[in-house]
Symmetry: C2
Subunit: 337 residues, 2 copies
Amino acid sequence: MADYVKVAVDAMGGDNAPAEIVKGAVEAIQAEKKIKVFLVGKEEQVKAELAKYTYPQEQVEVVNATEVIAMAEPPVAAIRSKKDSSIVKGLYMVREGKCDAFVSAGSTGAVLAGGQVIVGRSKGVERPPLAPLIPTEKGASLLIDCGANVDARPSQLVQFAKMGSIYMENVMGIKKPRVGIVNIGAEEEKGNALVKETFPLLKECSDINFIGSIEARDIPAGAADVVVCEAFVGNVVLKLYEGVGATLISKVKSGMMVNLRSKIGALLVKPALKQTLKAFDLEQYGGAPLLGLKGLVVKTHGSSKAVEIKNTILQCLTFKEQDINGKIQKVISGAAE
Amino acid sequence: MADYVKVAVDAMGGDNAPAEIVKGAVEAIQAEKKIKVFLVGKEEQVKAELAKYTYPQEQVEVVNATEVIAMAEPPVAAIRSKKDSSIVKGLYMVREGKCDAFVSAGSTGAVLAGGQVIVGRSKGVERPPLAPLIPTEKGASLLIDCGANVDARPSQLVQFAKMGSIYMENVMGIKKPRVGIVNIGAEEEKGNALVKETFPLLKECSDINFIGSIEARDIPAGAADVVVCEAFVGNVVLKLYEGVGATLISKVKSGMMVNLRSKIGALLVKPALKQTLKAFDLEQYGGAPLLGLKGLVVKTHGSSKAVEIKNTILQCLTFKEQDINGKIQKVISGAAE
């Protein structure tokens, strides 16, 4: 079937591989007829997991890969030496056009390095950013860049703003997404050298809806749909989101266990609270795309369970149907001319 | 009385001036006989506030200042032009040795710029960092630097580490405070150019307890007592702390109001929860010192109420009694030789 959107899935990546990965892949094809998944990993293990389910057989293929890249391995060396790993093999399937996308919950460094080296950048893209969705009071914002390449140049941040806008408009359905640059104050003259240089360039872009600087305080409030920053800052934002969230929620829990009165209250409040806090869970939005490559590469959390894998695979369909890569290509190459 | 620790207080700074500022100053001298406060501001207004309280008269002096620097004014220009403002006059009192410390809830930019220009840096200090205490699961950590001077050099970060260690050991009473540098991974080879250059310099310091890189995720868990970073990153950390905290707490509150069952639970849980969350309130720790100046300058939150002003004034006593400036001078000059 030439019509399938073909997704290579790293069956060996993440804390819950292969069981949860295979389960998520099966759930994705059960939900969507247009997708075919290629489970890349140790054939025997993958097939043993697959045997647990009933599913449309024609929508799954197992691709044997005898090696696994561990979380702690130096990424570039691992990509070079482990040619028969699930990450390298999956990325080659995208490079060779056998698949449209590659999804992995494995080593972030290896996926990022491999995405650039094996799949390769789109023409004109200076640096492919890793762009996770983060929860806000208004829904979700795209944090771009959180990747491994730090110390970006202004022209790269401008490309992030454009790619992020295309993603939020076409994948998330937000009209004229508001683009903000992370800064230490709202005034144009504030900031470090990088932000000061980037600000006027963003102001000149007619193809994005630039709203100016946003302070970190305003990110969780949803002050911008596309939150542009250099990767070091993006990494700090993403990880602090997790850290403050985890600490506060544990404080709330222990606060409820202080005495008998509060314990009874906790029982009553728990179901409603759980529901509300779920909307602020970083993992609900699935994987983070590595934008600006010749194919789609998506990194999901190392702790991904089946539901995140399933949602990420389904996102690949939207990404392909909306021709995000074509649109990015058009905007970036147009700008480069 | 030559024995007083003399604290100039900006009576006009912050959202709740002069009422809460004067109230906090009165509470401080009621609590501590060794302190004398100099309330700098519009004499009539300050005296009208003072008239509301009974307090040891000899521990208060009102210093008339006819001008006020507003929050939105460009800091350097304001410091230059408003010579009769409460901030400029208060800082001059420290410069001239009439006071040991200056406390302000007013314009952060003006306090930082004025601190450096008017009070001046200690010998050998390259850049004075603004260092607030932030709440963690284990108590509080010092986040150094959150000031207005971004794009620091490695040698400056090393000085931050040393000054921060002295503060945490002598003011907060933490033996051998653990010093960590904010990074995007725990490994030594990770980071941006600044962190990579700074890391080996910190490792060589025999006078601090350097524990290596910490990821932003681990800051709220209390992974380091002294959290070293460049000011742009520090600002992002501080403001995201506030932002994520505010959003999550509002989510918790609304989650509890979803249905009747949860509303009853909320009533039972509220007192215990309030108590626990108070320990995670950024404002409980009082002001952030601007370290490495010839005198002490402390910036409190713009929203400061009397209790924060009182605590900050009391901190000035510890700072003076522990001779923090002398200790900083010794370590920094020693290192510079």
